[in-house]
């Protein structure tokens, strides 16, 4: 049996030990404890309508079929709900048929497309469709030429700082800060430059 005094001492020691341990254990815990994340940060990409409209402006009217096939109809890759009633049906005299005019806002694969997310963060699907689209648009002479002309360049324009800036302006028309460190360019073709800009994620985030 311990004497009463000793017992008190021991309890005090225990208590000190307990205190020290609490401090030791709980300080990292306190940091870890403050770590419940209540949010998800998706990259706020533009939806299929935004992407198609931006690219159409850059590559011209000739791009519309490519964009319809590879962007607008890929509802679940890019997001952007359809509008079920955005179809217009009217009587036309062509062979006494009624013609149903569909707008690009129609539901491509059924009414459930009206419930998709307003945008979908970059994913394999999205990236794949976009890359394909960019390759097609740059490969096609009319659309490529349209973009080059819009930028105020020609295929043989020098790869100068100011010309590169013109190209960047296609995708970033309102950004104040454009990169100046473009000197080290090892002479890639304008096609390559255009397609790489087209494939980059940044312009897709409005």
């Amino acid at each position: 049996m311990l004497s009463l005094k000793k017992r008190i001492l021991k309890i005090q020691k225990d208590r000190n030990f307990f205190l020290v341990m609490t401090l030791l254990l709980c300080s990292p815990l306190a940091v870890y404890g403050n770590s419940k994340k209540i949010y998800r940060a998706d990259r706020r990409m533009g939806d299929r309508f935004y992407i198609a409209s931006r690219l159409q402006r850059i590559f011209g009217a000739e791009s519309s079929k490519t964009l319809e096939e590879n962007i607008l109809s890929k509802v679940r890759a890019f997001g952007g709900a359809c509008s079920p009633y955005n179809v217009i049906s009217e009587f036309q005299k062509e062979g006494k048929k009624r013609i149903n005019h569909h707008t690009k806002y129609r539901c491509y694969s059924g009414l459930a497309d009206s419930k998709v997310e307003p945008f979908i963060d970059a994913g394999i699907l999205r990236t794949g469709h976009l890359h394909k689209t960019c390759d097609l648009l740059v490969a096609k002479q009319q659309t490529y030429q349209f973009a080059i002309n819009l930028a105020g360049l020609g295929s043989n324009s020098a790869k100068s700082d100011s010309n590169l800036k013109k190209m960047l302006r296609l995708f970033y028309p309102h950004s104040k800060k454009l990169p100046l460190a473009l000197k080290k360019v090892k002479n890639p073709s304008w096609k390559l430059i255009l397609s790489s800009l087209c494939k980059s994620d940044y312009w897709q985030i409005p």
Binding site: I38, Y39, R44, A112, E117, P118, S196, L197, Y202
Partner: protein, 605 residues
């Protein structure tokens, strides 16, 4: 591919480390609709003096100020504690020497002494948070700093909101853009102007059409529609009943000047979209263009084949084309079903004589609308509610999840112990763990007890689904709210109870006599407003903040989470004050978060 060039290009918008500072927006546009008087004796002595000044010099024009407590000024963002210079209220005052608007009051300026009292009061306000409901206060978060390198210019902010609202970039002719460039208009005002241009009474240019389409599509994506994924689905229904029905309420509120946010949950009107082309439809909306099933050959049917009552039916169609307006739907004779069935099986179906008005609404605006009831009734065709197993619980669940952003269970064990009915025949009335959900959804579902889902005919492709509302008979008395089975349940007055823990962890227990009152009960809480803020915040920034009972885990959230919660509550409370969805958008667009190139915020170390 050589990387020499690509690195700078791709790093062009490179993301540095920034910290967040969510600005308590200093551009208040509080359009207060109600003005309760406050209990002045409960306020600080300093504020009592301020209140007197406002009372004599301002309240005859700003009647809402009479209802402002000290906390209201902070919560609505019109006063920044500790900083008179940045406080909207103060920098509007003539002679405040803040460089602000300094236009108030229009005629007689406040005296130097009065100005001093106001400034003293604001300076002395605790820098802590706006007052939260009792037992709920957010811990202070770390100091924050801003990295100006990632802050957008005014022009870029306008480019951003234009791109998001219309899903196209502004073109070079854009007049608002020109004004923003010249510094004649702030980006925030330009963004707000875009929304104003899209209001329903203004003329419809293509940008306005796009903006309406964007927001209506967004609103529509918030609502579940179980019918769409149900075996009993009758797709032709969507040519008679707008599949975007619930969203119409939000869209109307955003684009009509005479439809405040709180009207979304009040009144007994169904809404009707006016669209650009109201020509006859020649194919079902759910069919592709090549469909062989044309309406002119096929159409809609009422009645039953077996007893030879089946015949063509010519209902009012949902309009097609671009959205031009949203109006109250007034039923006409074409909206009356002469016959209807309790199921679609030709042999078993019982036939009922109409007329059944397919445009009825139970009250409470959206929650009692035909579309919200039909898409989420969750019952078999023909079932009448008995208060026990038979209740529209799916509908209750959707009220919580679609409108309040809350998922079940919404009660704690201690809240439901008293609900346990040991002798009940119904399994979930006997156990606390079940009641944590069922004590919320069952008494809520009582509000929709009058509904029964029915079909127009037994034609395999040409039938539509509708909600029949039994008229209630007060003579039957209220009866018990939660019974095992009551054959008159659907005919009794639709009283019920809203029971859940709100996002501050407070137990809400309020009774209602009908759907309209339930709508009002929901409007009294903050959840609906904060849920709406959450959804717009996600749309505008990609930040998706979960809404839950924050009170139980307040200490464990990371600092950025706390900032977001704080911001959401701030936005929601302001929406509750101004009742205006475009101001909510404005509040988000004017936040520092929206102006960060990558929409990211970081805690400082």
């Amino acid at each position: 591919m050589k990387t020499g060039f690509w690195v700078p290009v791709l790093l062009f918008l490179a993301i540095g480390s920034i910290t967040l500072y969510l600005k308590d927006s200093n551009q208040s546009q509080a359009r207060v609709t109600t003005s309760h008087s406050i209990d002045l004796s409960k306020e600080s002595p300093q504020y009592q003096k301020v209140f007197k000044i406002l009372e004599t010099s301002c309240n005859h024009c700003h009647s809402s100020y009479a209802g402002y407590s000290e906390a209201s000024w902070v919560i609505t963002g019109q006063v920044i504690p500790g900083n008179p210079q940045r406080s909207y209220l103060y920098y509007h005052l003539r002679g405040s020497e803040t460089g602000g608007a300094e236009s108030m009051p229009p005629k007689k300026a406040l005296s130097k002494e009065e100005l001093r009292v106001l400034a003293e009061w604001i300076r002395g306000l605790s820098k802590g948070l706006a007052k939260m409901p009792a037992s709920f206060s957010l811990p202070k978060t770390l100091a924050k700093k801003i990295n100006p390198a990632l802050t957008l210019t005014e022009e870029e902010v306008y480019f951003r909101c234009h791109s998001q609202f219309s899903r196209s970039a502004p073109d070079s002719e854009d007049q608002l853009l020109a004004k923003v460039k010249k510094g004649l208009l702030s980006s925030v005002d330009a963004c707000l102007q875009l929304l104003k241009n899209a209001t329903f009474n203004s003329k419809s240019d293509s940008i306005s059409n796009s903006i309406r389409r964007t927001f209506h599509g967004l609103h529509n994506s918030w609502f579940n529609n179980f019918l769409l994924f149900n075996l009993q689905a009758s797709f032709p229904s969507y040519d008679v009943l707008d599949i975007t029905g619930p969203a119409l309420y939000f869209t109307k509120s955003l684009f009509s000047s005479d439809f405040n946010f709180n009207q979304i949950l009040s009144g007994n009107q169904n809404l009707r979209a006016v669209r650009s082309q109201e020509v006859a439809n020649d194919y079902f909306i759910y069919k592709k263009e090549s469909s062989e099933m044309r309406l002119s050959q096929h159409g809609f049917f009422v009645g039953k084949e077996k007893n030879k009552s089946r015949k063509n039916w010519n209902p009012n169609f949902v309009a097609r084309g671009n959205l031009l307006d949203i109006k109250a739907l007034k039923a006409d004779s074409k909206d009356l079903l002469p016959l209807y069935l309790d199921q679609t099986d030709s042999y078993l179906a019982k036939i009922f004589k109409g007329p059944l008005n397919i445009r009825q609404n139970l009250g409470g605006g959206l929650i009692g609308s035909q579309s919200f009831l039909l898409f989420n009734h969750g019952r078999e065709l023909g079932e009448t509610m008995d208060g026990g197993l038979l209740l529209p619980r799916r509908w209750s669940k959707m009220v919580f999840s679609n409108l309040l952003c809350r998922e079940l269970p919404l009660l704690r064990k201690v809240d439901v112990i008293k609900d346990i009915q040991k002798k009940s025949d119904i399994s979930f009335r006997k156990q606390a763990s079940c009641l944590q959900c069922h004590s919320s959804i069952d008494p809520l579902a009582a509000a929709a007890r009058q509904m029964t889902a029915v079909a127009s005919s037994d034609h395999p492709d040409g039938y539509t689904q509708h909600i029949r509302l039994h008229s209630s008979n007060p003579k039957l008395g209220n009866g018990k709210l939660l019974v095992d089975s009551d054959t008159s349940y659907h005919l009794r007055p639709p009283h019920g109870r809203l029971r859940y823990r709100n996002l501050y962890g407070k137990l809400v227990e309020s009774s209602f006599q009908n759907m309209q009152e339930l709508g009002q009960r929901l409007l009294e809480q903050d959840d609906l407003y904060i849920c709406t803020a959450k959804r717009y915040l996600y749309f505008l920034t990609g930040i998706d903040v979960a809404v839950e009972d924050y009170s139980t885990q307040l200490k464990s959230y990371d600092p950025i989470s706390l900032e977001y919660i704080r911001f959401l509550i701030f936005l929601g409370k302001r929406l509750k004050q101004h009742q205006n969805l475009s101001y909510l958008i404005k509040d988000i667009v004017s936040s520092d978060l929206y102006r960060q190139r990558d929409y990211q915020i970081y805690a400082s170390d």
